[in-house]
Subunit: 478 residues, 2 copies
Amino acid sequence: MGATVSRSADAFLYEQVERQVREMIDTGVLKPGDRVPSLRRMSRHNRVSIATVTQAYLALERKGLLEAREKSGYYVRRRQAATVPRPVSQPGTARRVQVGDVVETILGAVHRPDVVSLGLANPSPELLPVKALTRAMIRVAGRRRLASVRYSMPEGVGELRRQIAYRGHGMGCALAPEDVLVTSGATEGLATALQVVARSGDAVAVESPCYFQILRLIESLGLLAVEVRTDPDTGLDLDALDRALDRVPVKAVITVPNFHNPLGGLMPEARKQRLVAMLAARRIPLIEDDVYGDLHFDDLRPRVAKAFDETGNVILCSSFSKTLAPGYRVGWMAPGRYLRPAVTLRRALSGTTASLTQLAVSEFLATGAYDRTLRSVRRTYADQVERARYAIAEHFPEGTRVSRPAGGFVLWVELPGNLEGEALFHAALARGVSITPGTLFSATRRFRSYVRISAGLPWSERVEQAIASVGELARSMT
Amino acid sequence: MGATVSRSADAFLYEQVERQVREMIDTGVLKPGDRVPSLRRMSRHNRVSIATVTQAYLALERKGLLEAREKSGYYVRRRQAATVPRPVSQPGTARRVQVGDVVETILGAVHRPDVVSLGLANPSPELLPVKALTRAMIRVAGRRRLASVRYSMPEGVGELRRQIAYRGHGMGCALAPEDVLVTSGATEGLATALQVVARSGDAVAVESPCYFQILRLIESLGLLAVEVRTDPDTGLDLDALDRALDRVPVKAVITVPNFHNPLGGLMPEARKQRLVAMLAARRIPLIEDDVYGDLHFDDLRPRVAKAFDETGNVILCSSFSKTLAPGYRVGWMAPGRYLRPAVTLRRALSGTTASLTQLAVSEFLATGAYDRTLRSVRRTYADQVERARYAIAEHFPEGTRVSRPAGGFVLWVELPGNLEGEALFHAALARGVSITPGTLFSATRRFRSYVRISAGLPWSERVEQAIASVGELARSMT
């Protein structure tokens, strides 16, 4: 069993209990079907209340690791895919990034309509509220015809900024409408943030693995990347980051603490708090990408790191692209003390975001339809992710490990033996299935034995067949 | 009288005749009400055909300089505002640009609803086809519901790229749909072009005066600007440019050859051709901003410089923001041989342009409604510009000179004596009228005695009063 819990540690008590149980499962101390320690025993062992243990077990149940049996306690679920092993730590040095060409090739292939796309982390159109959103859009376009064709204020449409500020409270942030800058998707927000804090040749610290579009952004801006080990359960390794910051002059740290892409993990709140404090002390801005934050499988919307920001040092970026309408290109940022330069830069480089789509999203939010959409879509993604995990566990060769996401819809898969993710990508594409090779998620082409598989498509025989087919290929190649 | 025409010169014959007559008016050789030389005499004098002179006189008539009287020939129009003097040449050196703060201050003031906005070169909402466009948008959103919320291809919606390629022929360009990249307004196109060809610290050559948003773009990207003298009638001074390019290693030249902002002039075709050839020989890319090209007062849509591009060296940028819907943020670029890096960079920095607005514009273009809109709006702008010119001539102090635009809707005004544009700007704003000080149009704060006045608003007593009020102020300050 892992170390006992500690009141001074990085995670809240229940999170520490939860992690203990995860580790018992990961290391094989607890096997599928095993009964986990009773609430009373666990509480005594860790010197925490029964309520704390209950909170931990409920969280594990919601995440599909445990199941409760009436009058008998909690059990490890039988069909359990293995988790990803903890990545090995590596010294972080600043590197030039060169992923663009590979990304272009892969994305090009992925757009083919004959291909089952498990390679893109795009929401499935079937899961977007297309009709209701279009209705809201048409309503507002009729009512605000002139506003929909004119430039909005450079910071964005006022109503939308108010709606976003309101939602900020659910993320733990006391945002005012004036703190919010509307952008064309989160991508433009991240690009703006990077351009405001860094110049060509500067280094920024990124998670490892890191979402390849963030790496492309870094490459396009001529920046260097310092890769810092990131754990699926606890997020960015703060000690490793601390050491890296001592060694390399870094202009910003970029992180996806909520449902990291590709890891799917959720950084515990206490660690978010430590990260924010650490960077505030060093006066290094934190750029936070929360684009998956609304897609939590737990009941609770996780807080953003910005919730712990007391100095305006955190630049929070998000969008409605994963949940509402990718093609509307409505994102936003809360740039803290970088608001003025962010507004100025965006205005110079792209003007404003389209008024029509801003008005449509704001109308949709105002009616409460967005929250209804989220409630239903979260369940669906949790279900799809679970099904995909089990399908991978069933069809992929022995020794394959799969992440256990707490939200979002991507899976991070470690292949066994010498099987390379890129080889599997090419073989799978030839069979009409796209996946994403792990090498894309690193500036130094690490993660050769990994692939990312998206569970964004509605579950169907076709999707299951696609996973089975890639698994079969993987078996034949091992 | 100016030099006789020459077959080897920069301008076509009729353009040279036209310029001769302009110079006769500007220098006072011909006064308002004077009869201009007869077709026969002018043809003999210049050794050109009568048809060529007729072409020149008709062009001058359309531009409001001459009027035809039956059986009596052509006369200089009576109410004639003076033109802007030819700017003095200056040696071009690479300078850091710092206009951002001033621009922010001015644009901030200009958004006030109580202010008559003669300061922004925005099309008046009354002159946009708001109803018809909204109808087209709603039609296409219903028919292509899914496509309107999904990502478009990174290069843009296929139908729109086809429509733009088709319109390219009217600009003298044989564009294929694959040559076109849709951007979020022309601003994003220009930003992309600059980022593809230059890195922070590089120099680019700009026109002097230069549209301040282009200067802001240069400033934001950390580039240096080499200012090259630009003439209202003939455009960028090609000899001065040639000398500047010999002296400074320049990564690109940016130009607005059609209805330059703020000069309003049209670069003659022969000079466009020479400019393109000159830069192709030096392998320096030409970035062309044609955002006003559709707003010609003449019958003929002027060709773009890209029409003369044989090597893919011209990056043409434009948008529908001045004519259709600024708030839709639909622009485009034809990046020539820079297409691949432009697509890659845009994808990395902002993803794609909103699908919904792309589809709406494409639907509107397909129905032919855009051409009908242009026909009516061109006449309106020509009329507004003329009225504003005459109002300025009437109300501003003696010695004021006003440009004579060939298209678009901005006027470039030289104030007499020691009157400074910035002082007039502040005084006018205090009286509830915004204008733009000339200093914004230079990296070196030249044009102190100039202001730009927009004739984008529909002509009304309020607008005339606003001009009269600024003129009165100017008189009191001289």
